[in-house]
């Protein structure tokens, strides 16, 4: 099935306004693994006939990694440019599959003039299921599987979203198993604060290895996440233990799209 991905520009040309803007983010646009998550989100949106659009080439980095790295100039330049574009299209509601974009757009843009309702893709999917627009018959292919959820810091502690992804996993009729450190006590994957873009400082272990140990301890079949950076870090962690054949790392959106056979 080919994806239907309208851009804001094309919609505007037809005199239409989408209900929600899908903010894809840099990972979701360029990273090969994260693109699959992006497509899973689009499949769900298409399937539920959600009237959405993307900015396409008009989208630019939110500035999150620049801000966390300490470069407020670069962050605010990016923010102001994005806000001009978003306000130009009179955007009211944004969904994003990246907790870093989510946090920045939701919390840091309003003071700079960008005020939007911003939700994470797990929250949108939860709405679609709860409103009956998306249904999973008998849970689908993940029925009875053991799934553990790794809380992305910028979704969990940073924004107190813990339940939406978990409710989705339960909708799969899967067994949700928690790691010893979860929710408010969840351990970071090691990518936040611009660490994704640099070598770790000297230590005795990689953070993603430490976190993958938590996940492996649960004997889960699948590590679910809701963040493209966490996904990369956990995938690398699993490879570090040569477990890629016994445990998968998937985004919650992928789980739902696969289970719904989209």
């Amino acid at each position: 099935m080919s994806l239907n991905v309208p851009t804001m520009a094309s919609m505007m040309a037809q005199g239409e306004t989408p209900d929600v803007l899908f903010w894809v983010g840099c990972s979701g646009s360029f990273d090969d693994r994260a693109k699959k998550i992006t497509k899973a989100v689009v499949k769900i949106l298409n399937n539920c006939n959600v009237k959405f659009a993307v900015l396409g080439t008009e989208e630019s980095c939110t500035g999150d990694p620049a801000k966390r790295a300490g470069n407020e100039f670069t962050f605010q330049m990016q923010a102001m440019m994005n806000i001009q574009v978003l306000n130009g299209y009179d955007v009211k509601k944004i969904v994003t599959a990246c907790p870093h974009c989510f946090n920045t757009l939701k919390n840091e843009y309003p003071e700079l003039g960008g005020v939007y309702e911003v939700i994470h893709h797990t929250q949108l999917i939860q709405d679609l299921i709860n409103s009956g627009k998306l249904s999973l018959k008998d849970g689908g292919i993940y029925k009875g599987k053991k799934i553990t959820f790794h809380d992305p810091c910028y979704l969990g502690r940073a924004n107190d979203v813990y339940e939406a992804p978990r409710e989705l996993i339960e909708k799969l009729d899967a067994e949700l198993v928690e790691m010893k450190r979860c929710k408010t006590n969840g351990l970071c994957c090691g990518a936040g604060g611009a660490q994704m873009f640099k070598e770790a400082e000297k230590g005795n272990k990689e953070i993603n290895v430490e976190r993958t140990e938590d996940a492996l301890e649960t004997n889960a079949d699948i590590i679910a996440t809701g963040c493209p950076f966490c996904n990369t870090m956990m995938t690398d962690g699993v490879k570090n233990f040569n477990k890629e054949n016994s445990i998968q790392v998937l985004d919650v959106a992928e789980l739902i799209a696969n289970a719904a056979d989209l």
Binding site: S60, P65, N103, I207
Partner: protein
């Protein structure tokens, strides 16, 4: 009479010196930049009641929470007895409340005694955790030297204080029995009084013992009070203002630097005159980010004095867990130690004095702050709502914006964002390619 005068002088001296130190610390905290933490009073009060008074966040670890609660409640309730000690001391009375309160007095002192025993048990366990069990978070290298001594000293003072209470009440109980009077009926000392002091047949000796306990209690209280401003134990007071002035925003929201906003707006304004002379500013130009404690906000500085070095932040820090140099507790201790130094310098040499040192470099190393993943685990863990992360980010801001010093990979990442709107080197024109790929 003489004892009343001596008591009065000690009382005034003790509280006077304490007030002097409090004002000194207040002045130090106010060296920080301003930050607005005024609005939303009801939410602030609620946070203070839950987190400081109710110790809500302590209970994520139930066993130390219960032990800590025993100490805390004992400490607070014992202050009722202190009121009596002050009245007795100033007016040369003996158990001033005993007659007027009657059986309620017995109940109150009994209650205090039971709490004191619980506190004593907690203290012994706390000492064992530090010194015998050697709990990792209480034995890290940043605690070597004074911080470790400080922690043990506080616990030992607590033991001495409780011993004084029981010597005082126990000797008094024994004296009553010796005089042929009925016991007060205090829950603990009516048992241990006769047990320890029952063999003493001299009323004089028992009175001296009671006096030793009484003066000991009073002197310990004064000593403890004046020790607080020099100790990590200051949290028993500062926990309240510190939680009241908590950050009420989502933890993920970092401050947007206003000075930067002004410049960015100017850069993006097509009608701005590039040759215009900048408006004469009345305030001194501010540094971007923080190099020293005076660049931090007063809330950061209040945080530093509030920290009791429990190390929950550090034990939850992913960087520290995996052997990196960063320890959020050390960030707070360094900030406090440097602030004390800066404050002392200003008082000695005037406000423009510079000792050539700074928080960043002389106390906190670049390697520490670059290890942070900004995951907010330290902020989440802190039982008194301290925010080490905002200090780390302000130090990074100084390094990056004032000194252009950062790990080389980050330079590349920033250049990419500026040039092609993504942290990696991809063309912005390819942003939608995923939609047409299989």
């Amino acid at each position: 009479m003489i004892s009343s005068i001596l008591f009065g002088l000690l009382f005034i001296g003790g509280f006077g010196f304490f007030t002097y130190n409090i004002l000194k610390i207040r002045a130090n905290v106010l060296l920080g930049r301003d930050i607005d933490r005024k609005g939303n009073k009801s939410e602030r009060l609620k946070t203070m009641v839950l987190v400081a008074l109710g110790q809500k966040k302590m209970f994520s670890r139930p066993i130390p929470a219960l032990l800590h609660l025993a100490l805390y409640v004992a400490f607070v309730i014992t202050q009722i007895e202190l009121v009596e000690i002050i009245i007795d001391g100033l007016f040369n009375k003996h158990r001033f409340f005993h007659e007027s309160l009657g059986s309620f007095y017995t109940f109150m002192i009994s209650f205090i005694e039971i709490l004191s025993v619980l506190a004593l048990i907690a203290t012994v366990i706390f000492l064992s955790r530090r010194n015998l069990l050697k709990l990792p978070r209480l034995n890290m290298k940043e605690l070597a030297g004074w911080p470790k001594k400080d922690a043990n000293l506080i616990l030992i003072m607590e033991i001495v204080l409780v011993s004084c209470i029981f010597t005082m009440n126990g000797a008094d109980e024994a004296a009553r029995l010796l005089n042929g009077n009925e016991s007060y009926g205090f829950s603990i000392s009516s048992i241990i009084g006769p047990l320890f002091f029952g063999s003493i047949q001299s009323i004089e000796t028992l009175h001296i013992l009671e006096l030793i306990g009484w003066w000991g209690h009073f002197l310990m209280v004064l000593l403890f009070l004046n020790y607080l401003p020099y100790s990590k134990h200051f949290h028993i007071l500062l926990a309240f203002p510190n939680t009241y002035f908590s950050n009420l925003n989502k933890k993920g929201k970092f401050t947007n630097m206003e000075s930067v906003t002004a410049e960015v707006k100017l850069m993006m304004d097509p009608s701005a005159d590039p040759y215009a002379v900048p408006a004469e500013s009345t305030s001194e130009p501010q540094r971007f980010g923080a190099k020293d404690v005076t660049d931090l906000t007063w809330k950061n500085l209040l945080d530093a004095y509030t920290c009791t070095e429990c190390g929950r932040c550090t034990s939850a820090c992913p960087a520290n867990i995996t052997g990196k140099k960063l320890s959020p507790r050390k960030i707070m201790m360094d900030t406090r130690d440097r602030l004390t130094e800066v404050g002392d310098n200003i008082r000695k040499h005037g406000k423009d004095f510079s000792d050539g040192k700074s928080l960043l470099g002389d106390y906190i190393l670049e390697e520490e702050i670059w290890a942070c993943t900004s995951c907010n685990a330290c902020v989440q863990e802190c039982p008194v709502n301290i925010d080490p992360l905002s200090i780390i980010i302000d130090l990074r801001r100084f390094l990056v914006m004032e000194e252009s010093k950062m790990p080389t990979e980050l330079t590349g990442m920033l250049t990419n964002i500026e040039n092609n709107g993504a942290p990696w080197q991809f063309s912005p024109n390819d942003r939608l390619n995923w939609a047409n790929e299989d």
